[in-house]
């Protein structure tokens, strides 16, 4: 038991987060145009069984969860990769106005934090927080998302069932 504890402490002393990883904090990605597509909105609406009349065909408005289609993840080259496994552990969406079908939004990402975590299912893991903004053609902030990813070593999982 004591030996295990010593091992965990020595792991804490050896953070796997490097200066190179930390250098990604605060760097904004190059903006990418994303389109609120009628096909995405319709497919997701049908799958979720959403009968809200505001989002039906012909209204020109997309449901808020269409955000999942236009931003499934940040570009791989932007993600500081410390450990091989990764899971989305927290997510926040904020909506400032409804999405309009066919509109183009400017999507920008930035890593806002990277930190070590000890304990839980994987023993040692790394927390990465990424903020994304969606700006309309008039420069208005349409939506924001904040995602927290936990990176881990799958080989060290204690119980994943």
């Amino acid at each position: 038991m004591l030996q295990t504890r010593r091992l965990e402490l020595s792991e804490v002393e050896k953070s796997l987060i490097t200066d190179e990883h930390r250098a990604t904090i605060g760097v904004k990605s190059e903006g990418r145009k994303v389109e609120i597509s009628a096909a995405d909105a319709s497919r997701m609406r049908d799958l979720l069984g959403d009968t809200d009349p505001r989002y039906q065909d012909g209204t020109g408005i997309a449901p808020p969860y269409v955000l999942a289609a236009i931003d499934p993840g940040i570009p791989r080259h932007m993600m500081p990769s410390v450990l091989p496994g990764g899971l989305l552990t927290q997510m926040e969406w904020k909506f400032h106005r409804p999405f309009r079908l066919g509109e183009q939004l400017l999507l920008e990402h930035s890593v806002i934090d990277i930190r070590d975590r000890l304990g839980g299912r994987y023993g040692y893991s790394v927390i990465v927080m990424i903020q994304s903004t969606y700006t309309g053609e008039d420069g208005d902030l349409v939506a924001e998302s904040l995602r927290t990813l936990t990176q881990f070593d799958p080989g060290k999982a204690r119980d994943n069932s």
Binding site: L48, T51, A68, L87, T89, P154, N160
Partner: protein, 141 residues
């Protein structure tokens, strides 16, 4: 789909539970075109290689289910303003998820009627995702 008014909503009101059944195909159908990003979302074997009991249910699908659930409860004159969730345990395709929720706060803020909901997904009766959703609702007046 019926709407709710600020005056009629009470703290501790409960949302009627709603069952969803995620399958291995649900992720493909949800993301469409070239997604999903993680092979474990649509392939049980890939999920097992990552240390899970089968194909994973994508977090973005679960947050979308929760946003739709809140919007369904609030009605077509309301709007979901924000949703914040914590994924507590991985969910495996083929196991039903039950959405449940309750009103935890209501207030007027800058002339807006804001209702705060606490929503969970339950797998085998245990919470797998916990979320807080802010909804703006209309007033009768």
């Amino acid at each position: 789909m019926t709407g709710r008014y600020f005056e009629d909503i009470k703290v501790d009101d409960e949302l009627e539970p709603l069952e969803r059944m995620p399958s291995e195909d649900t992720a493909i159908d949800f993301f469409g075109r070239g997604n999903p990003t993680n092979p474990a979302f649509a392939d049980a074997e890939a999920g097992r290689r990552q240390g899970f009991g089968g194909a994973l249910v994508p977090g973005l699908l679960k947050i979308s289910w929760m946003a739709e659930y809140a919007g369904r409860w609030a009605g077509p004159e309301a709007s979901v303003k924000s949703i914040r969730v914590a994924f507590r345990r991985p969910d495996i395709a083929g196991k039903p998820l039950v959405l449940a929720g309750r009103v935890v706060d209501k207030r007027q803020e800058d002339g807006r009627n804001v209702v705060e909901l606490e929503v969970v997904t339950l797998a085998d009766g245990q919470p797998s995702v916990r979320g807080n959703i802010q909804v703006e609702v209309p007033s009768r007046g």
